[in-house]
């Protein structure tokens, strides 16, 4: 593959494009609502109407408004049909010919779509994720070519540093700094790992990216490999995402076939191979040292850091681990420039962030907004507020490691620092809206049960501490606890947070701490009076 080949592929793809495109969402949510059947009937209807020359029915990745699926969009008219059934196919085709259409539609100009800014999701729901040509036609792999042809590895690292990109997996560590450390670590063999073990309940951003635009992630990984001097990559995907796995496998096969993965990429000395490793249902494997143990085929238990993976990672070699969304930002940054990227977002949080909007909210689905967007804009304008006129009580971010942000703080901008200040975290991007019917102590218990079940069992504070915290929360919910129990719970939160080995344990108390901070009254309402007030300790015999 050369630049010329790339250009020819693009030209051929664009030349073959038909006048009208019916985009049919085949991502996991719409598939489960029957979108495959919709696509088949649309294809049939097109051929019955003799429109094969004019209309392309294209299976695409996530079209974002998951709650209204199956979704079908008609280009270039920019019509978005919602809740489409196979029986609607004929009506959609009729509408293409100018017929009147009464099918339910969503307004592509509504805030849910209009307030999005797509970098990571630019191709998502637009291109066919199963064809590499479609990605190339959208300027895919151009950045990789430019990097290999014109930039030294150090320059690539510098560009990422300059862009201000921070890890999208949760903690927000500066990506450029990480790359620089791996690049500088001595070692003949280095590895790249893409963390696609999206374990936070309520998060489906990475799944959507992998299902909708897998090559974007592969390109980002290849660029990273070149920058740090690695030649082998692994993508660690959870087994719960079969569609993402099959699309990745397909994408890797295609990229190898055309020489965009493998040896001598773009006729340079750069080699890069990617293998998929399938997770097997362990949340803790999202932690990087546990993930590496799992890639090595072992029990996914974390180990103390330092040494950090950048110095000693997979098989003790320097290893770069980034998550899906982080890698997905790489190619756009190099294609459009670090300055362009750094111009988006806030002073310390650059670029955009993809969120999975779910819970008690009208519009659930996938959104990408510039960093610094106020939460209120996301949940009220884009999300349309709570369904059936209810009031939003809190927004949960960061999954079991995060916290609940109460309604009075909805004007908080979403960036790493602001969310941390409120006792939550950015997390990987799950955003669950809770309304007045949600009991916050129950939410805390829900997450504690999650952490208890997902604790690997290696360190004591997390293994046994989560059990005790869970019991105390159960006791509070059962109205059997006293103020002494609540004090015990808070003390345990502090202890588990400060002494646990890995991030799972260190953040397990967060949902309790954040609900205690903003909804303490809900805990106190459940407490029972102490039967015997402890006598003053001065009353010694």
């Amino acid at each position: 593959m050369t630049l010329n080949d790339l250009q020819q592929t693009k030209d051929a793809e664009l030349a073959a494009r038909k006048r009208i495109v019916l985009r049919c969402c085949l991502a996991a949510s719409c598939s489960s609502s029957g979108s495959k059947g919709v696509k088949e009937r649309l294809e049939k209807a097109v051929s019955e109407a003799g429109l094969q020359g004019e209309v392309e029915v294209r299976g695409v990745g996530c079209m974002k408004l998951c709650c209204e699926g199956p979704l079908v969009a008609a280009d270039p008219a920019n019509t978005l049909y919602v809740k489409v059934t196979p029986d609607n196919a004929a009506a959609i085709i009729a509408a293409l010919r100018g017929g009147k259409c009464t099918l339910p539609q969503a307004d592509p100009g509504s805030p849910f779509f209009a307030l999005q800014e797509a970098i990571v999701l630019a191709n998502c729901g637009v291109i066919d994720p199963e064809r590499i040509e479609a990605y190339i036609a959208a300027d895919g792999y151009l950045a990789l070519h430019e990097v290999l042809a014109e930039m030294a590895p150090k320059e690539v690292v510098d560009a990422i540093v300059k862009s201000g990109l921070r890890g999208r997996g949760g903690a927000g560590f500066p990506t450029g700094l990480k790359w620089g450390t791996v690049a500088k670590s001595p070692g003949a063999k280095k590895y790249i790992i893409c963390n696609a073990d999206e374990g936070d309940p309520g998060a489906f951003m990475d799944r959507s990216v992998l299902e909708s635009d897998p090559h974007l992630v592969l390109e980002g990984m290849a660029i990273a490999a070149y920058a740090v001097g690695a030649d082998q990559g692994f993508i660690y995907v959870r087994a719960e995402y079969p569609l993402a796995i099959s699309r990745l496998q397909n994408a890797i096969r295609q990229a190898k076939r055309v020489g965009l993965l493998g040896s001598g990429i773009f006729e340079s000395p750069f080699n890069f191979n990617v293998d998929i490793r399938i997770g097997a249902g362990a949340f803790v494997c999202g932690e990087e040292t546990a993930l590496m143990a799992s890639v090595e085929g072992k029990r996914g238990t974390p180990r103390p850091r330092p040494p950090f993976p950048a110095e000693r990672g997979l098989w003790d070699c320097p290893t770069l681990i980034n998550n899906v969304e982080t890698f997905a930002n790489v190619a756009p940054i190099l294609r459009r420039g670090a300055d362009w990227f750094a111009g988006i977002g806030t002073e310390k949080s650059k670029g955009t962030k993809v969120f999975a909007l779910a819970g008690k909210i009208r519009n659930t689905g996938l959104i990408e907004v510039p960093m610094g967007t106020p939460l209120r804009r996301i949940v009220e304008q884009m999300g349309g507020g709570a369904p059936a006129g209810g009031a939003i009580k809190a927004v949960q971010t960061g999954g079991p490691s995060g916290g609940c942000i109460p309604a009075p703080h909805l004007d908080t901008p979403v960036d790493y620092e602001s969310l941390t200040k409120l006792g939550s975290i950015m997390g990987s991007g799950g955003m669950i809206v809770m309304d007045e019917t949600t009991r916050m102590v129950d939410v805390a218990r829900f997450f504690m049960e999650f952490c208890m079940d997902e604790s690997c069992g290696k360190c004591i504070p997390c293994r046994a501490g989560t059990v005790q915290m869970h019991q105390l929360l159960e006791k509070i919910l059962a109205r059997r606890a006293t103020a002494r129990d609540l004090a015990k719970l808070e003390e345990l939160c502090d202890m588990v947070r400060n002494t646990s080995l890995c991030g799972l344990g260190q953040t397990a108390p967060n949902p309790v701490l954040s609900t205690l901070r903003f909804f303490r009254n809900e805990y106190e309402e459940l407490l029972q009076p102490e039967l015997h007030a402890a006598p003053p300790l001065t009353a010694k015999a």
């Binding site: 699926g69 936070d200 309940p201 489906f204 085929g297 819970g359 659930t364």
Partner: protein
Amino acid sequence: MTTVLAPPKPQAAVRFASLLAGDKRYKILEAHIKKFQHRQDALIEVLHKAQELFGYLEDDVLRYTAWQLKLPASRVYGVATFYHFFTLKPQGEHTCVVCLGTACYVKGANKILAAVEGRTHIRPGETTPDNKLSLLTARCIGACGIAPAVVYDGTVTPRQTAETTLAQINQWVAP
């Protein structure tokens, strides 16, 4: 105290040869292991394949895997029991996985689970005595936009309620 030597065990190769001869699923598994060049770090990949072939990870499969990868049995068992996805017990004819992710939970997944438990008298991870249905829970299947979701025999189904779930279950489980 006198040390008594254990009686000689049959050579593993001989033992596994009879397994291979009797069940072609082992042949397929062997081919898969060869694809990974018997690499020890492929253990999880091999177990995935084994579970796909056998439905669950029975002792002989684990022993065979350990032998092929030259790993101690304790390591194979340790890995197989660490990950939720692997099951060491046979599953029922049908499976019902209730997603208990946050989005599903706030939309009432616990009520769905309670309804199924009440109907079948089994707890998550168990199978009905007639072997018709295995009830499982998931930590989040990423279908949050269409919560609450339930997976029936591998098919993700959106916006479930206790009623719709019971309607599905009732087709499988004797009244």
